[in-house]
């Protein structure tokens, strides 16, 4: 799918009326994640800088934000990634937005909500939180329009997932759905988020409160959805996070909390402030004891407009629009198009397959040296400064920058990262070769994963193996 370039004209100077104070949305990119589910790939290269289609992974969400019109992004990442970002040619040249990099410790104790709390001072308006491992071509205005039109507290993006069909290297046996399912409940229109829980949190079974059923008698519960980790949050939520230090993950704790809070009695009643004191005693979420105060300037005028408007979001009962609730959570579910979160090896391989199709860039980098007697399939990507010798065959693969491929090599269905040397006569099929590895002559690798800087001895024959260094094996 080709992405259209949005062309719009932004005022050359600020015209005195729209200053930074009344920006509508601030973008925050979470790039400090460790890639805990694909340690084989990430033990040397941090996840945000993993190459996908020869571009670093975090380039994709940044490109999405830039295309849509953001001019500034706050990037929360580690020092290591920051260093790599500065040296990476793609990031320097292609990303024209102003990146405000905030570094946090690498120890991995900081969850996404903790990170948001860390930058609370920089947040002046509503935020759009994006994860660095999201590759998508969704029309972002759909999510943001839900956020705007309904004055929502939370708007998020989800996608109907599809099974990964490629064989994953290093996988022994049939792939089991090791991850626990997420149950997502939406109302009849498919936009309003009513229920969200992970299988791990539901001990006895899925229980839904009667108050929710009374307000929304028809609920669709879906399990196959992939959360894109793209959230629009109101500023009040960030302030609430600052007071409630017990919430550490946006996806794991904050979102289910907000979804539950939609139907709690205090936010449904107009007198929020009066109940704030009572709430301290009656709270059933024992850990959070500060109220989420959602109000806006000119509240009475807004009320008047809503009263006089002849619109209701539901029908069949006696309540007004939104059942009088002020806290609303919305979700946009996409069926078509690409929305991929690269957090497992299978997803990584899938992303490498699909991501290059998003952009209209030439498959072969102009600085690559490809000999004429090389057979190259049309869906292969060759990076910069590659050297591909004669009589090689490269099909459905990605070659990273500065890779050397000698004669008579056959590469099929594989991902080769930067700086790899593949000697003559090798046969690589369905594998992932990480940076700076060297594959000896005549090696035959099928469905293997070769870690960073590894050397495969000549004439080796490996099938379905993960070849990493001994130092990595020591990490838990």
């Amino acid at each position: 799918m080709r992405l259209p370039l949005l062309s719009f004209q932004v005022a050359a100077d600020q015209q005195g009326s729209l200053t930074a104070d009344i920006m509508e949305l601030q973008a925050v990119l979470m790039a400090a994640g460790g890639g805990s589910r694909m340690t084989d790939l990430t033990y040397n290269t941090p996840k945000p800088m993993l190459p996908v289609g020869n571009k670093p992974l975090m380039w994709y969400p940044l490109n999405l934000l830039e295309r849509v019109g953001f001019e500034e992004v706050i990037v929360i990442t580690t020092k290591e990634v920051q260093k790599m970002m500065v040296t990476d040619p793609k990031m320097k040249v292609d990303v024209k937005m102003k990146l405000d990099v905030v570094c946090i410790q690498e120890d991995g104790d900081m969850g996404t909500a903790d990170a948001l709390r860390h930058i609370q001072q920089k947040i002046k308006t509503d935020v759009l939180v994006v994860s660095c491992d999201l590759i998508t071509d969704v029309a972002l205005h759909e999510v943001v329009d839900l956020f705007r039109a309904h004055n929502a507290t939370l708007a998020m993006l989800m996608s109907n997932a599809h099974e990964f069909t490629e064989t994953v290297p290093g996988q022994k046996g049939k792939k089991k759905t090791a991850e626990q399912r997420d149950f997502v409940g939406v109302d009849q229109s498919g936009k309003r988020l009513l229920f969200m829980a992970n299988e791990a949190d539901l001990e006895d079974g899925l229980s839904i409160r009667k108050s929710i059923m009374r307000k929304h008698p028809r609920m669709h519960i879906k399990t196959g959805l992939v959360d894109a980790h793209l959230y629009c949050l109101k500023k009040a939520v960030v302030d609430f996070l600052a007071d409630n230090k017990s919430i550490s993950s946006i996806r794991g704790e904050l979102v289910p909390y907000l979804v539950r809070k939609q139907f709690s009695k205090t936010t449904s009643s107009p007198k929020i402030k009066d109940d704030a004191e009572n709430q301290n005693q009656k709270t059933n979420d024992g850990s959070t004891n500060h109220e989420l105060l959602i109000s806006s300037r000119d509240e009475p005028l807004l009320q008047l407009a809503q009263e006089r408007s002849c619109w209701n979001d539901h029908r069949g009962d006696m309540s007004e629009a939104y059942h009088g609730g002020k806290l609303r959570c919305y979700v946009h579910i996409i069926d078509q198009g690409l929305c991929c979160r690269v957090n497992t090896l299978a997803a990584y391989i899938e992303a490498n397959r699909l991501a290059p199709k998003l952009f209209e860039e030439p498959a072969v980098h102009p600085s690559a040296v490809i000999s004429e007697r090389c057979q190259m399939g049309s869906d292969s990507i060759i990076g910069a400064l590659c050297q591909v010798a004669d009589k090689t065959s490269i099909k459905r693969s990605t070659l990273g920058n500065s890779t050397t491929v000698k004669e008579k090599v056959k590469v099929t269905n594989s991902i080769i990262m930067h700086g790899v040397t593949i000697e003559e006569g090798c046969n690589i099929q369905g594998s992932v070769i990480c940076s700076n590895a060297v594959i000896g002559r005549g090696a035959d690798l099928k469905y293997c994963l070769v870690g960073n800087g590894q050397r495969i001895e000549p004439e080796a024959e490996r099938t379905n193996e993960v070849i990493v260094g001994t130092d990595q094996l020591m990490e838990i």
């Binding site: 005022a11 100077d13 509508e24 949305l25 329009d145 039109a149 005028l301 809503q306 408007s309 029908r315």
Partner: protein
């Protein structure tokens, strides 16, 4: 003609002087007039020569006051202002007897006539300088061409191009003429019925926001939110739209800072223009919104220059609040008070659709313990009556619900019909939700009184006698309905001869309306122009 000459001259003398003093402003017009005069003089000379020669032959025997008149009259008529205008209208009176003098008096008569015409032209020119309407000179008969507003010329590609350019060029004046605020143009959707091809028809699935950048920098976020709410129908109804508009403008004013070399009174109005075009693209503005915008613009331009920004902003905010309080909230109270006199025990009241004002009236009447029941009439595709039904039943009023196709069945039970209005036009027509004129027609046929409730801020100076000229076309896909799993109209676009028409408004003639209840009192429909006149005088 002699008398007219007498009355002409002192007046024309003054006008002449005025023409002289206003000479600089009038030069262009004056020059045009003079050119025309000269042409006419030439023509008339030829004509009058013949006439004069005939007349002079006829009236050769008459005495004239001529010579003294002739002499000054012979002076060139092109300098009427500098002359002392000759004494009365011997000008038209035929002059000398002798054929020898025939030429001279003939000429002088022609000249005098031309002179008088010149004076009259000068008078007219000076009058036109004081008024602002250019009129075609009466000697030239021109057909009066009425200029149509752009929003009803959608089928004219030239006008569309102009509109697109105008949206691109909506500039903020100031030091940089290069800074443009570009509002995207929303494209029409689907096949339009030919009778309404001059109107826009948009699709709800293609919002204007997909062409804007996401953190909206060009348009204030409150306005983007408002535009979205309009186009999705979340804020619907004339009063709700105006209140939401004023609320958004309050945000804009609060966040506004005057750029360095600008004045708030001028710059803020220019800032609002692109916002208003944006909102117009999302959904065509209603009459009440138009009046509210006029009021705000007037308030902004009336801010004195030496006023500090903070003061000016707080003044504007309070005047907006005042407007809402007076024109909407208090007006509703006043209308409710008058209407309650018209509702008596045992009444069966018919209402159509969901009018916030009518609902308010009925709730107030119920509070006053008047025993009545309500029949709510509803129509597709909006089905707004359900919302009215919910609000009334929630208060405890007993209601009946029918669709508009059953209105002639239910009308024998009805004692009064209360209708809300979107706008009241200057010729007494009521513009309201489509279907209102039907209800009024059937009610008239059954001799049931029809009362329209409308606040004065919805009064509009437009004149319309039919629903075609100016209307709004809603999304045609709203008419598609799924029954028993089948959606018949799903592929309506593939059928070339099929068009779906989803009209929003219609006009009801004043013959069907018995009374209009406004905050100024209960007036007949035909008094609307009076109210408008009084309002304009007030302002």
């Amino acid at each position: 003609m002699a008398d007219s000459g007498v009355t002409d001259e002192p007046g024309s003398k003054d006008d002449g002087h005025r023409a002289k003093t206003e000479g600089k402003e009038l030069t262009k017009e004056e020059k045009q007039r003079l050119r025309k005069e000269k042409k006419q003089q030439k023509k008339n000379k030829e004509k009058k020569d013949e006439k004069a020669s005939q007349e002079s032959e006829k009236k050769r025997n008459r005495e004239e006051k001529p010579v003294s008149a002739a002499a000054p009259a012979s002076q060139p008529p092109t300098q009427p202002s500098t002359q002392k205008v000759p004494a009365p209208a011997p000008v038209p009176v035929p002059v000398s007897e002798t054929p020898a003098l025939a030429d001279k008096p003939a000429k002088s008569k022609a000249e005098l006539k031309a002179e008088r015409r010149a004076r009259q032209e000068a008078e007219r020119a000076s009058k036109q300088a004081s008024t602002s309407k250019p009129k075609a000179p009466p000697s030239e008969l021109q057909p009066v061409v009425k200029r149509l507003p752009e929003h009803v010329q959608v089928d004219n590609p030239g006008v569309l191009k102009k509109l697109a350019k105008k949206l691109e060029r909506q500039q903020t004046p100031g030091c940089n003429a290069a800074t443009n605020v570009k509002i995207p143009l929303r494209s029409d959707y689907g096949y339009k019925v030919s009778l309404f091809s001059h109107l826009h028809q948009y699709s709800r699935k293609a919002p204007l926001t997909q062409q804007l950048s996401i953190p909206s920098t060009v348009i204030h976020p409150a306005i983007v939110r408002l535009g979205l709410q309009y186009s999705q129908g979340i804020v619907a109804g004339s009063n709700a739209r105006s209140v939401a508009l004023l609320h958004a403008f309050r945000q804009v004013i609060r966040d506004y800072t005057t750029p360095p070399n600008e004045e708030l009174s001028r710059d803020l109005v220019n800032k609002l223009k692109p916002y208003i075009s944006f909102l117009n693209q999302c959904r065509p503005l209603s009459a009440s919104m138009g009046n509210a915008i006029k009021y705000i613009k007037k308030e902004i331009s009336n801010i004195p220059c030496q006023c500090k920004e903070e003061e000016a902003k707080s003044q504007l905010l309070s005047s907006i609040k005042c407007y809402i309080d007076e024109k909407i909230i208090l007006a509703a109270k006043a209308i409710a008070k008058s209407s309650i006199e018209k509702i008596s025990n045992g009444d069966v009241i018919l209402v159509y659709g969901c009018s916030s004002l009518v609902n308010h009236i009925l709730c107030e009447a119920f509070e006053k313990n008047i025993k009545f029941r309500v029949i709510v009439v509803d129509s597709r595709p909006r089905l707004e009556g359900r919302e009215a039904l919910r609000r009334l039943v929630q208060r405890g009023i007993s209601c009946t619900y029918v669709l508009i196709s059953a209105v002639s069945y239910i009308l024998p039970e009805v004692s009064k019909v209360f209708l809300g209005a979107h706008a009241l036009l200057a010729n007494g027509y009521v513009m309201s939700r489509v279907g209102t004129s039907q209800i009024a027609l059937v009610a008239k046929a059954f001799n049931v009184p029809v009362l329209v409730c409308c606040e004065t801020y919805k009064f509009c100076e437009r004149v319309q006698t039919d629903s075609f000229v100016s209307n709004e076309l809603d999304d045609p896909d709203d008419l598609i309905v799924t029954r028993k799993g089948k959606t018949q109209l799903e592929h309506w676009q593939d059928v070339p001869s099929l068009g779906l028409l989803n009209l929003v408004y219609d006009v009801t003639p004043p013959d069907f309306v018995d009374l209009v209840i406004t905050d100024l009192g209960m007036i007949p429909c035909t008094s609307v122009p009076v109210v408008l006149r009084v309002k304009n005088v007030d302002q």
